[in-house]
């Protein structure tokens, strides 16, 4: 792909990509931190995670500003147009992932005050899957790799299954001993938040496929085998 004849435009598009990646890195770390705060019962870390959300929100606004500016001033076409519109949508998903991290941290603070009902095994596993999906969707964005993006969409089933499994397990705790209900519910929320992170990562991956191929695979009942 040759560079733009107008180098300033090329630089601005580079800035846009970098900002998305930075924002992505930030929320990925935020999720890791929030889950660590939960498993290690570390309230200070939970508060730090919540505090970080401001930075994420600032990125959201700045990336939107830059995108709008490029749309207005450069009248981009084809792949440039698709990059900028994709960016606008991706940042919304990233911002929502940041919110999920904040919610997990809030639940971590609440749970830190109580005795754990069980060792945390599935939640860190879900967090690993969710972060991996997010990381790969962002790699796919930078490398314009549709195969990688498609693999993220396929991984969404794994995290959905983990959530389902945890739901059944927590339900059995609650049925057995109603005293665990409030703790089990909080854990169930955390599981749901992580499942949502997977959904947002999938959205990002779908947008990457649109960005590269100019074709939308969103809202399809079945994923295409090849692109």
């Amino acid at each position: 792909m040759p560079l733009h004849t107008d180098r300033a435009f090329e630089e601005q598009l580079g800035q846009l990509r970098t900002a998305v990646l930075e924002m992505g890195g930030l929320v990925e770390e935020q999720i890791g931190q929030a889950v660590r705060a939960l498993t290690q019962r570390d309230e200070a870390l939970a508060h730090a995670t919540i505090e970080r959300d401001h930075t994420v929100n600032r990125f959201d606004v700045e990336i939107d500003d830059l995108s709008l500016k490029l749309l207005a001033l450069r009248q981009p076409a084809a792949r440039d147009l698709r990059l900028i519109t994709t960016t606008l949508k991706i940042t919304t998903d990233l911002e929502r992932i940041g919110d999920m991290a904040t919610h997990i941290a809030e639940r971590a603070i609440e749970l830190a005050a109580e005795v754990p009902i069980k060792p945390y095994i599935d939640i860190p596993r879900m967090a690993d899957v969710a972060r991996d999906m997010l990381r790969r969707s962002l790699d796919a964005f930078v490398r314009e790799d549709t195969e990688l993006a498609l693999s993220v969409c396929l991984a969404d089933d794994t995290i959905d299954q983990l959530h389902e499994q945890l739901f059944r397990e927590l339900l059995s705790y609650m049925v057995e001993n109603p005293a665990t209900v409030s703790r089990a519910m909080r854990l169930l929320f955390v599981s749901k938040y992580l499942e949502r992170v997977g959904d947002h990562a999938t959205n990002i991956a779908e947008m990457v496929i649109f960005m590269v191929k100019g074709r939308s695979i969103r809202h399809m009942d079945k994923l295409p085998r090849e692109l």
Binding site: M1, P2, L3, H4, T5, D6, F9, Q75, P76, A77, A78, R79, D80, L81, R82, E144, G214, R215, L227
Partner: protein, 268 residues
């Protein structure tokens, strides 16, 4: 980068449900020893705006000028291939270029009103074609000036010199003059490149209106203009037709990497 399934060259008939007005097959143009256009095939649909884009020297103006045999006037120009309008060949010894140009009118980059009154400019074509009835001429002048969205601005000064009009008005006058002989096709070669944004917007609005009655082919260097006014876009490069398709698709998701590079401003 694109998968093989996508890189096939689009067939000359871009997806459109409109009937074909002008069919071009293997059109080759030489100016002396240089080949300006090599084997271009393209179907121009009726009542649509077809934009021709590409860098200077890509052959888009040459192509446009072939559609009403304006290249006949260029010494050393050699045209081969087939161009038909509603199935009638336009190149052939039996075709009278004057009659052809009545069917296929043209508007140029630089507005070129005759140093005559507004009225006489518009009435010029019909008079050449034998219209003498003054009532009839008056009707034609009013109708075409209205079509060219100029009537309200000039109705009180039809007898004044056309050269007193503003640049944008002169260009719309030239469009009215082209419409006065009731052509079927209107060719426009950079019709708004010398105009300010307001005059440009008026011309573009006019193009939208005109396609109900005419088939329009426009050459423009302004890609945003092509995107705004046309239904179909053809991208020319080095005398070849690189891609032809619905404007909407061409500007969001072109098939050919060369098109992509050009419309996104990557000029190698």
């Amino acid at each position: 980068m694109l998968d093989p399934g996508l890189t096939r060259i689009h067939p000359p008939a871009a997806a459109t449900d409109a009937p074909i007005k002008i069919a071009v097959r293997d059109l080759v143009v030489h100016y002396g020893g240089t080949c300006a256009l090599e084997a271009v095939s393209l179907d121009i649909p009726a009542h649509r705006v077809t934009a021709l884009i590409g860098p200077s020297g890509c052959g888009k103006s040459t192509f446009l000028r072939c559609l009403n045999r304006m290249n006949d006037h260029i010494p050393g120009a050699r045209v081969t291939g087939q161009v038909t309008i509603d199935g009638d060949p336009i190149y052939g010894s039996e075709v009278d270029p004057v009659v052809l140009r009545r069917r296929v009118g043209m508007v140029f980059q630089k507005s070129n009103p005759f140093p005559k009154s507004v009225f006489d400019n518009v009435a010029f074509g019909p008079r050449v074609h034998g219209e003498r009835d003054s009532l009839c001429l008056r009707e034609i002048v009013e109708r075409t000036l209205r079509q060219a969205a100029l009537w309200d601005e000039v109705k009180d000064r039809l007898d004044r010199s056309a050269l007193e009009l503003s640049g944008g008005q002169q260009q719309r006058l030239c469009i009215a003059r082209a419409l006065a002989v009731e052509p079927e096709v209107v060719l426009m070669d950079e019709p708004a490149s010398a105009l300010d944004p307001i005059a440009t917007a008026k011309i573009e609005e006019l193009i939208h209106e005109l396609k109900n009655a005419y088939t329009i082919v426009i050459v423009t260097h302004n890609m945003q203009q092509a995107a705004r006014v046309s239904d179909l876009t053809a991208y020319f490069y080095l005398g070849r037709l690189v891609e032809f398709g619905p404007t909407e698709r061409l500007f969001t998701n072109p098939v050919r990497p060369e098109t992509e590079d050009y419309i996104t401003g990557r000029f190698g």
